[in-house]
Amino acid sequence: MSPEQDRFAEQRPQRVRVQAPQNASLNIAAARPEQSAETFYVRQLIRSQLRLAVAVAAGLLIMLVGISAILAFWPVVAQVTLFHIPLPWWILGVGIYPMIIVAGLLFNRAAARNERRYRSISR
């Protein structure tokens, strides 16, 4: 082997076995006291986002549980038919989906607005 090749062999990087990280933690340091104003704004942001999410989720739950209760206690609803298909089938099979989508879109706008407000205050 010529000395030329030898030199390249030395420079060749060590073979490394690919391995998933053993530790996913990000080593985030504890909050320092001087950042307490920032912490306050973050808590405000979290609280407003949580309030928003809980409001939408509660609306959704009340709607779904309410509909199931109405259908259980007033089976008369099923007597109403539209194109020969009972009303509950239309409500459950078709009607609820648009409401879910609208709730999602409204939430997205409101959540983005909360974040914009946080940005404008914290900087």
Binding site: Q22, A24, L45, A112
Partner: protein
């Protein structure tokens, strides 16, 4: 003849999946660095991929089967699957994307750095949930293939396991959002085509007033679930979606928290459109395949074309449905297998590539065995049980971990253990009870979510409060990471196209 066309459709789906996985991987390696590319997947692609991964055997076959079995009550399942995504959007999508966690155990570790035990417990729960979720896919594969072609029951699961193993081991599945996205649209088409054909064929029949008037009676004649069961299922599906391991991984490919939200909103639309089809087919199933009985109700969609058409058209439509069904089994199973193999290899093989490959084989082979040894329940019902289990274990960890800074590792461990024990034992116990009894106690065992989910939350909160000193010192900083919008984030309203690209 039916058999030949169905086998052809099945082979085409398997080959197409593998080809896209292999070549897509090569493509993504040569064009740009894969990891960079994955962070900048457009919301539409990403949403299609999530839809493709999420719509499993339970959605594709199970929903129509359940509508045939329990009538109006069956309609709650697709609603729950979709509304569960809304809950994901509300509470989890953006914070989880910002957490930089790739899996649920990662999230547990980011939130509670010191607790090795919490990470371990979370890993084991993820493994159990994935296995429970893969088994119904295998049941579906077994049912589909034996109904469509008459082959023995073990062939379907073995094919699914083999294709998933090959694609995942080669590294294809993980990289290629493409395959999953393709499978959403394929599944949609595989239901749209038969639905339209069947509808156009049977519509003239209902111009006769007597025939049309009988429809309402036929639909209402099927006894449904009690109010308690309905509410319990709604809760299980709503909260269970939050903790599905294979779904969470997908959020990582969004460029930012806001993009994660946009993606989730699109997923809501995709799911809503999709579920109209099994619902329609379920209604047609009540009218035309009512005689299938409880054991074969899941085959409604497979058998419907043959009840309405005959000859080549019937065979062709059946073959299309078989192809779509296998796309559903493959995409969901591969998503789960990746999550499961990741967790297993991390836990038992120090996360090496070789360990990942061994884990993939374990992850798919074991469910095949379980599926062959057990009888298939109603698919949508079996998946509903998995959702109840997820809702009682992973969901409280994620919800409280993301939104409540005072959660402690001990509280999380206690809550998840109580939730897992109660929900798991109740479901096991209800299997041993006779089918016929319908007292409230039996219903509470059969559908435990209505009490086991609140219980898990209460235990988690109470134990955290009593171990208040153990709140991690960096809790505030971690909360900041989860909730503060990214620096690169531009307010909505600008021309979003560039940002989302």
């Amino acid at each position: 003849m039916t058999g030949v066309l169905s086998i052809l459709a099945l082979l085409m789906v398997c080959v197409a999946t593998m080809l896209i996985a292999f070549y897509g991987l090569r493509l993504s390696r040569t064009t740009s660095d894969f990891y960079v590319a994955s962070r900048t997947v457009k919301p539409w692609w990403n949403a299609s991929a999530i839809g493709g991964e999420y719509l499993s055997a339970a959605s594709f076959l199970g929903v129509a089967g359940l509508i045939v079995l329990s009538g109006q009550s069956g309609l709650w399942f697709p609603i729950g699957y979709t509304a569960g995504y809304l809950m994901l959007l509300l509470f989890v999508a953006a914070p989880l994307r910002r957490s930089q966690a790739y899996t649920i155990p990662d999230f547990a570790q980011i939130r509670f750095e010191d607790s090795v035990l919490l990470r371990k417990i979370t890993t084991y729960l993820v493994v159990i949930i994935c296995w429970l979720y893969i088994v119904p896919q295998m049941h579906g594969a077994s049912l589909t293939l034996s109904i469509a072609t008459g082959l023995p029951g073990w062939v379907g699961p073995v094919i699914v396991a083999a294709v998933v193993c090959l694609t995942v081991v080669s590294g294809g599945m993980r990289s290629v959002t493409f395959v999953q996205a393709f499978q959403y649209w394929f599944k949609l088409a595989a239901l749209v085509i038969p639905t339209l054909f069947v509808l156009f064929q049977v519509m003239p029949e209902y111009s006769v007033p007597e025939r049309a008037a009988a429809v309402a009676g036929q639909l209402q004649s099927i006894g449904g679930m009690s109010l308690y069961e309905t509410i319990s299922i709604i809760l299980a599906l709503l909260f269970g979606t939050l903790g599905l391991p294979h779904v969470l991984v997908r959020f990582y490919t969004n460029p930012s928290g806001q993009a994660a939200r946009t993606t989730t909103a699109i997923v809501l639309c995709l799911l809503s459109v999709f579920y109209l089809l099994p619902t329609t087919l379920g209604v047609l199933g009540i009218l035309y395949t009512q005689d299938l009985g409880a054991n074969n109700a899941d085959a409604t969609i497979l058998l419907l074309p043959q009840r309405i058409f005959d000859g080549f058209l019937a065979d062709l439509l059946t073959a299309i449905v078989v192809g779509g069904a296998f796309a559903a089994f493959l995409s969901t199973t591969s998503g789960l297998a990746v999550s499961l193999a990741g967790a297993l290899s991390q836990e038992f093989f120090q996360g090496t590539v070789r360990g990942f490959r061994i884990s993939t084989v374990l992850a798919t082979a074991l469910p095949v065995l379980i599926a062959l040894l057990t009888n298939s329940l109603a698919l949508a019902g079996a998946i509903g049980n998995v959702f109840a289990f997820t809702a009682s274990t992973i969901c409280p960890l994620l919800l409280l971990g993301i939104w409540w800074r005072s959660l402690t590792a001990r509280g999380a461990i206690a809550g998840m253990s109580v939730g897992a024990a109660c929900c798991g034992l109740a479901l096991l116990g209800s299997n041993m009870l006779p089918e016929s009894s319908d007292s409230l106690w039996v219903l509470m065992l059969r559908q435990p979510a209505a009490w086991s989910v609140p219980l898990a939350f209460v235990v988690m909160i109470l134990v955290s409060k009593s171990t208040r000193r153990r709140v991690p010192a960096n809790a505030d900083r971690v909360m900041e990471l989860l909730h503060v919008p990214e620096r690169s984030y531009k307010p909505a309203g600008d021309t979003g196209a560039d940002r989302l690209r």
